[in-house]
């Protein structure tokens, strides 16, 4: 039977299958470095072996699905909002990592996410984000005595 025109090979599906295979290999490689220490314990290797074999079989299953082209239909993708949100998250992570505190990062994350959902008022949103961040800081640090990552702004309080 000739393949019907709708049933084309799904490249993304094949990539998923390959990724699963790579994960299976990673789990297996990691497993080989473990030792069995207790003579009575089944050992830390059994579960990784099960997971690795399972992932391998599922990689095959997903590959078959991709070759038959029976993955669900997908909409076209708009990369801009994704980049905005992930960019906001990255800013927050970097600011915390270098000791810039979480307030600036949180304000940025709020504004970029808001922009990702189509708002065009970046400075206003930045301000709203900052107000929320100050509120959270006061709530956590003063009321619950939790230490949030502090930077220059947080030290003002």
């Amino acid at each position: 039977m000739a393949p019907s025109p709708q049933r084309r090979i799904d490249v993304a599906g094949l990539v998923i299958a390959l990724l699963l295979l790579a994960l299976a290999g990673l789990v297996w490689w990691d497993m080989t470095k473990l030792q069995i220490l207790s003579p009575y314990d089944l050992g830390p290797k059994v579960m990784p072996i099960v997971v690795s074999i399972g992932l391998t079989l599922l990689a095959i299953g997903n590959a078959v699905g991709a070759l038959r082209g029976d993955l669900p239909a997908r909409d076209s993708l708009d990369w801009k909002p994704i980049a905005l949100i992930l960019g906001g998250l990255a800013c927050l992570i970097i600011l915390i990592a270098i000791g810039g505190g979480f307030m600036i990062g949180t304000a940025l994350l709020f504004a970029t996410t808001s922009a990702a959902f189509g708002r065009r008022a970046f400075p206003t949103d930045l301000l709203i984000g900052a107000v929320i961040a100050v509120f959270i800081y006061v709530l956590f640090a003063k009321l619950l005595t939790l230490s949030l990552p502090a930077g220059p702004l947080e030290r003002l309080f």
């Binding site: 030792q35 220490l37 207790s38 003579p39 009575y40 005595t145 939790l146 230490s147």
Partner: protein, 323 residues
């Protein structure tokens, strides 16, 4: 007589003046205490109790507690050594568990890089068996483990932790091969306790506090504590007194970052000395059931070095650390 009284007055005044001066100098102290664990655990409770006692007694002006959880303290100590070098106001709570965790986690940072300040509290390990167990005392348990270490199952905390080390040392002292012990780690005290109460394992090992109420209620039999001599709160002689040469304690202490000056070290040590004597701290110890084991300065540094060597030896023997 009036001479004597005058003399007394004078020295009392001088003492008060010194005390007053010292308090006011120390009251400038703005301490930061890091608990290398999530809020709620033992180290965190120690840090927050210290905060409470230090501020209430006026030893420090302010104390800020931060939590750096992860990997048995490996992440906290890395941060202390790398980011707080030379900071004379920073302390970190740590304990015996960290000694083992740093070794098993192959931490690039070691305790040798920190500045030891003082040991605060200690808790002895207790070995218990279910109430209906044929094992009555430490000798029985030692005999059973010597006969067949596989058949004696131990329930305790995580692999490589103080419970595990104590069980291995018990086997060694009993004349059995410590690598052959059938030690079963449980996550969290409740789960291990349930396994012992349910008679699923031969013996349980953990801090005495975990078992105290069960022992008092007669559901578990206390084989002994790992102290040198019998302690006041139990009726059973210590394991060492029963002829098994085992002594180990799970202590908690504070260390400071590397690179602090001698003066800074002295100021921190003095603050801890005063904390240990304060009424507030004594009250907390009583309320929490923590045993005072205060040792500061070089004496503590020596204990720390000894414990590191011993722990490394045991963990190497059971295969968790490669020599």
């Amino acid at each position: 007589m009036s001479q004597v009284r005058k003399g007394l007055w004078r020295s009392a005044l001088a003492a008060a003046a010194v005390a007053g001066f010292v308090t006011s100098a120390a009251a400038q102290m703005e301490l930061k205490i890091m608990a290398p664990a999530a809020p709620g655990g033992g180290w965190d409770q120690t840090a927050r109790s210290m905060q409470q006692a230090l501020t209430q007694s006026g030893i420090a002006k302010s104390v800020q507690v931060t939590n750096v959880p992860g990997a048995g303290g490996s992440i906290g100590i890395a941060q202390l050594v790398n980011n707080s070098k030379g900071d004379g106001n920073q302390l970190m709570v740590m304990g015996y568990v960290m000694v083992g965790a740093l070794l098993t986690n192959k931490s690039p940072v070691t305790l040798d890089q920190t500045t030891p300040i003082a040991r605060l509290t200690t808790e002895y390990e207790a070995i218990v068996v279910p109430a209906n167990s044929p094992i009555k005392n430490a000798k029985d348990l030692a005999a059973a483990i010597k006969a067949d270490p596989a058949k004696v199952t131990w329930a305790g905390g995580s692999a490589g932790g103080v419970d595990h080390i104590a069980a291995a040392l018990f086997a060694k002292a009993a004349g059995a091969d410590p690598t052959k012990i059938n030690y079963i780690p449980f996550s969290g005290g409740g789960e291990a306790l349930a396994a012992i109460l349910g008679g699923k394992v031969t013996a349980g090992i953990s801090g005495y506090g975990e078992f105290e109420s069960q022992v008092k209620a007669g559901k578990l039999r206390l084989i002994g504590l790992t102290s040198a001599a019998k302690t006041a709160n139990v009726d059973v002689p210590s394991i060492k007194e029963q002829g098994i040469d085992l002594e180990i304690a799970n202590w908690r202490a504070v260390v400071a970052p590397p690179g602090i000056s001698a003066d800074q070290k002295k100021a921190l040590t003095d603050a801890m000395d005063k904390l240990a004597q304060s009424k507030e701290w004594q009250e907390i110890l009583k309320a929490k059931g923590w045993e005072n084991a205060y040792v500061s300065g070089d004496a503590f540094a020596k204990i720390l070095a000894n414990e590191q060597a011993l722990t490394k030896e045991v963990l190497t023997a059971v295969g968790l650390v490669k020599s």
